[in-house]
Symmetry: C2
Subunit: 243 residues, 2 copies
């Protein structure tokens, strides 16, 4: 008998491995058994961000919980390059979008930052983390970047690791993809400013940092969400794992 | 007295030029005078996709119409490179997003195509065109790419111009930004397949076209809207006006 295929990919916290059994809580049981209408014997693809993807069979399907049994690894764990995305939160839908795209395109960490001209005073961190998980579930990813809590940019820069480079998108600067040519891989971050741009102080500080490289994204004004995707593309193509 | 600044950018059909007067219809009058609460003497930045951006003063503000007078050109016309975006329409919000991003990033034409695995049977062309206009209004663009009507991919390829190259994103192919290195500028198109990918026939046909170049966008599966932004970034950085 041919093995059944998994119609659903699910992120879980539990360890995954040969003959490992996984218990589901209320929300995931509801999703699998009531929303997706799966039942005992059906297959689900599980991943937890560290053990790759495992094909698992549903062994128990109750209303508020369930159990699955790992059968075999169906994809190896793929870690992203050591790239952080720092961005200033904007309107809700566009912030969701940035987090989704970062998870899809392959970053190691998502760090929302408050800048001088950032509108948002707070973010809904759990909601954004759920978006990152959903993006990984839907795109076949095996890694989910953690969404950190919102912090002031100045504070993040105060504690900035000496060996982590920053590529920041500077509207004032013209024409330079060359900025990254010749740069080395290793720990990096992409920093996207808010729609209003960086303040003069912030720009001065960034330009003065040895780790920082200003980069232009063309002659047009891009929205922050577009700039985020374009900057991650540029980095992945030049220094990341899209090469 | 210092010249007032324009708080609003507006796309109009009318010709723009020195001392040119522009008449507004009901919708735009409503937007300027009721929604944005502008009145006689206020400034608006106008563009029409060909004459650059003009600072214009409101001379008459009625409920259902209005009149503006061009004062001076405030930005030169900036045309995009000769790049077409071909894409298979997906869910509404993501299709809107692709059109918005294409207008923002600088393409000359947006051509929705039906492929074998495209879900959408039709698009709301006027709505998508309005999205492209809004993106240009908000991002300071002076050009609005036309959104063409939905056509079958096969038909579009039947009439494909011999001198226009196509970069298409092929999931099956691995690792190649190099694909574009050494390529020449000139007329190009970026083709983004549907979420289900191209059919075997479509792939065969594309690979057989002398004008077509397959390109990989990294080891992860990207959604169609992410792939569109990433592919336009790649093209703009390599062959377009972001160099």
């Amino acid at each position: 008998m041919a093995e059944k295929k998994a119609k659903v990919r699910l992120y879980v916290d539990a360890p995954l491995g040969s003959a490992q059994s996984v218990t589901l809580g209320r929300n995931q049981a509801h999703y699998l058994f009531s929303v997706m209408r799966l039942g005992v014997g059906d297959m689900v693809a599980l991943f937890n961000g560290r053990d790759g993807e495992w094909l698992a069979e549903i062994g128990r399907a109750a209303r508020r919980e369930g159990q699955l049994q790992c059968l075999r690894q169906s994809a190896r764990q793929m870690m992203p390059p050591d790239l952080w995305l720092l961005f200033a939160p904007i309107k809700k839908a566009r912030t969701d979008f940035i987090v989704e795209k970062a998870a899809e395109m392959g970053v190691a960490r998502i760090q929302p930052v408050q800048t001088r001209f950032t509108n948002a005073e707070r973010i809904r961190q759990e909601r954004l983390q759920a978006h990152a998980i959903e993006a990984a579930e839907q795109c076949g990813g095996t890694f989910v970047p953690p969404v950190m809590s919102l912090r002031p940019l100045g504070q993040v820069l105060d504690e900035w690791p000496g060996d982590r480079r920053i590529m920041f998108c500077d509207e004032a600067k013209v024409g330079a993809r060359v900025a990254l040519e010749g740069a080395c891989a290793g720990p990096w971050a992409v920093l996207i400013g808010p729609e209003g741009g960086f303040s003069p102080d912030e720009r001065r500080r960034l330009h003065a940092m040895a780790q920082a490289t200003p980069v232009s994204l063309g002659p047009r004004i891009l929205r922050a969400d577009t700039a985020a995707v374009a900057a991650m593309t540029l980095w992945q193509l030049t220094l990341g794992d899209w090469k």
